[in-house]
Symmetry: D3
Subunit: 220 residues, 6 copies
């Protein structure tokens, strides 16, 4: 399942991050995935102050976004990462790592997130393609928007043919790792949010009973 | 979870079955469970015509009862069995067999059912006790009523101290064997039945999406 | 996951089925789903000879198609159904039923299949949309092609604005009901088919060991 | 499954806690569950010293109680909470939250616990009802006793019609979250405790083998 | 887990089968597994009368053997197959197929069985090796004995260096497909058989409660 | 599944540990398992400096050993323990505890490890037997070697009849607790390591997709 959030970042925040990206020192993106020879992009260097500030802005935005939290049911989140795709750069078909180092316990990546900083008029190519067998979902978001999608898929970023594609990416461990279970729980809570107050009190309680038990059963 | 149905059988059907019980030939109930030395009751003999007719009436009543079907989500049902508990008879604490012979493939007993033929004024004692650790649920139904309860519990029938307790029992394999999962699915469908028509069409579809997928996921 | 098969039916078979559709007697499609008020289409009447002949041709084509069988891992298949969408007809957002009546044991619908009979030049509108949260996969196949997709999704057919959209649909119970598990098994077998013969014999056996055990573990 | 422990607290401890309750500052109980409009009770204010002392006494009592630990297989426990139900107060039907905030990682509530401070002669009404479909388990414990029951159920406290019902409640995350699995493991360990020493050594080892593997398999 | 049964067949039955093997028409064993180029043995031809009679004797012996049934918890069994390994023959490392054709529904092979017809003095080599990572279990049974082992393993038959190794093999679908779960259930029933009668009646019932529920939970 | 590593420790490390064992203070091994009356061995006292130094050497060796890490997929490891079996000592059949105390959260023992310090010429008897129903795997490793085996089995150490058997043991919690799942994941990664570079890039990605998703699905 996919969630696109139009305005995860305000226009001001997008401007600020774009400015930080101009100051940040970038290094070869393969540092975080040396085995994928089709990965050709740039990432902000680990200790770089501008990169860290951009990451922090993204982190804050993600933590305040209720629709995203309802959808992802987050448990832990990796440090966001500022990435730049310049002309000719791309990230060939790959699957996100199941586990990433984070503190004492590795983080299981259940949901992947891309936050778009550059706008459509700033670059060509650089589409995010998510492969689902013989069909493909194509995503090119507006500046400040974010897309959340399962880390389980094979996906890629097509070559940038002009301009620069700036994004921030991160990976989230969900309380409910299974994608279908997470979506069923999300959907049931949306139904409650939209219809619950119209229901007889007793039926609200029954719906609550189902939701609480699914959450217990499916969390890990 | 428990379901009591007040009027599974009509008053006429109860009368007919009580009459058939007077004609039926009964044998020692331990035939169906020789290892339980605390089982002291009578069951209608396998080939007995009156017993079979009573079983058939019960079977028909169970198959027409929509609330019971919603609760049990039945897949297969064992042949109902006419049982008599006379003075001093009882069925000590036991758990129902996990599998019963039925045709070429054994039937997994997920839900147990007792249909009450005798009324409260016709006997004393003979209560159905369902143990749940240090708490006990006690059930003595009216003539024509039925109770459905998980086959997973330890339960018993206390000694009859006067009169005769006539019941029909059966065992049902459910499409959803896990008790909690079965109850969550039942509850969600009840919410849909009671509240669905008030909902926005799109939310009805979302609720349907959850129900259909839980049913797929949990059926065996 | 999706699988599109370009030529499930030959051009001749498409012609034959289109001809049968001209002779078939169609009835209101809501017969098979009376509760969905957004379903407005026509289905060939149950006993209609031309409809049955078309269904039989589709069934035969599905049973001979190795790529589809590898993808679906079929256990049982519902009788295919000839459907017609004329101007103004559509099938609003819905989820396919979890179970369909079929012989003595209901069929669990795990994979849905649409076989396209009409070509793009014969109608406008009538797209199959498969919703995945805020993203949508849109499918309009060529005559004779088929698409297989999980029965678990919310999907719809948009209104036909001109011409007639003829399709055959069916529902398949898979040996591996979980969508992700089914796709992992399919993918591993594809890797074996494409790379197995290049491997050291011992590594082939190891891969076989994994595949056989996943199939055991995940079948239901 | 239910466990009632007669004397979780000594008579002295009950007296002490009752005394602390007279000094404690109570606030509206809805603070911990603002959405349940049927919750009408009082809870000791978060930072209140007397309330904290009562909570600490309860915590200590729970941690020393071997039968409770065998039954619950505790992993983490929420801070106990002193509650008062005065005349007219109640807690309508509800289900306990699946997760509660506790330190850095939310606590999953698997088992709920009520410790009774007031005695039967001190109030009327105020029964704990645990609903199981059409049957209900009713509990009104003696001072110092505790009842443990699955957090998964719909339950309620009926209105107090005279006097004051003082209780301490808490919520426990179990190593074995599934209720039936937890009870099977508990039961098997009880059989070992009661019968193990009479067994042949080799059979003791075999029983141990089963218990250790169930615990591994079912812990989360 | 492994079970060796010393005397599945009587000495007379072994003699009879050895005699039938002398009359049977054998064909290349790769017929049942054409892809395994390391399979070099002979199997009795499908319709051969002597081969069928031998298979029938083995089937009868398996169906009467209570210890084997307790261990395997059989649901369905493939037709046994008479096999001959002559000098130089072998069956290289392989894993048994997850599913075999059998009637309308494929049989899942959970447990494999080898029945030894030839004795140790009749051939050299021809050991059954079951690989478990860097360790190997080696089995060469006496005439009339049988070994049951999980179909999940990689195993092989080493080359016969003199004489003839005659065996009958078959594959069994278990009610409890997971190997560890099947062994835990088996072990608990053995404990009940060996120690149950010494237990307090109430503890017997508790043990029964665990066994019945594990069987329900783990059957497929 | 078993893994034997020939040279976990260098000859120098073996010498050092043997020397430390001569200085260490040993106590009755039953301290760590008082209920097993068949446990008759010695363990280095908890606070003993020489014992701790030996444990640290073993810990370091385990943490640097890539093949062991691939096989075990470790999450946490118990402090290694130096053990001595002198003449007449043994450890009767037992199963390793499911959970061991370790810091704030108990460690689930999924994989057991024995590191051999004494050589075959230094003692007689003292074999590690791992029971698998009617078959037994027998292990007596060379100095410096280690064996990893599932903690789920019943196993024993036979009586030492001459000399002294020095070993270091430890218990490991795996990211993938189920033995078969862990082995399937290990096997698939070995296939990737041995064959991956020969594969078409796209097939490598497909294999990666399967591995990453199995790891997500099976980790706990």
């Amino acid at each position: 399942m996919f969630l696109q959030i139009e305005d995860l970042l305000s226009a001001d925040e997008v401007q600020t991050i774009a400015g930080l990206a101009r100051q940040a020192r970038f290094v070869d993106g393969r540092r975080s995935n040396p085995h994928n020879t089709t990965k050709v992009n740039l990432i902000a260097e680990a200790g770089d102050a501008a990169g860290q500030q951009a990451a922090q802005l993204a982190m804050t935005a993600l933590q305040r976004c209720e629709p995203a939290k309802n959808f992802v049911i987050p448990q832990r989140m990796a440090l966001p990462q500022l990435c730049s795709y310049r002309v000719g750069m791309k990230y060939g078909a790959h699957t996100d790592a199941a586990f990433l180092p984070l503190g004492v316990q590795p983080l299981r990546s259940d949901v992947s997130c891309t936050i778009f900083i550059s706008g459509a008029e700033e670059y060509a190519g650089g589409e995010l393609l998510i492969h689902q067998g013989t069909e493909t979902v194509r995503i090119a978001g507006k500046p400040g928007s974010a897309v959340f999608y399962p880390s389980t898929t094979v996906h890629e970023v097509t070559p940038v043919t002009s301009g620069e594609r700036l994004v921030i990416i991160t990976f989230i461990e969900s309380q409910v790792p299974d994608q279908l279970q997470r979506d069923l729980l999300y959907t049931l809570r949306e139904v409650r949010a939209l219809e619950g107050l119209k229901m007889e009190w007793q039926n609200q309680i029954q719906l609550e009973y189902v939701i609480a038990n699914l959450q217990r059963m499916w969390s890990r």
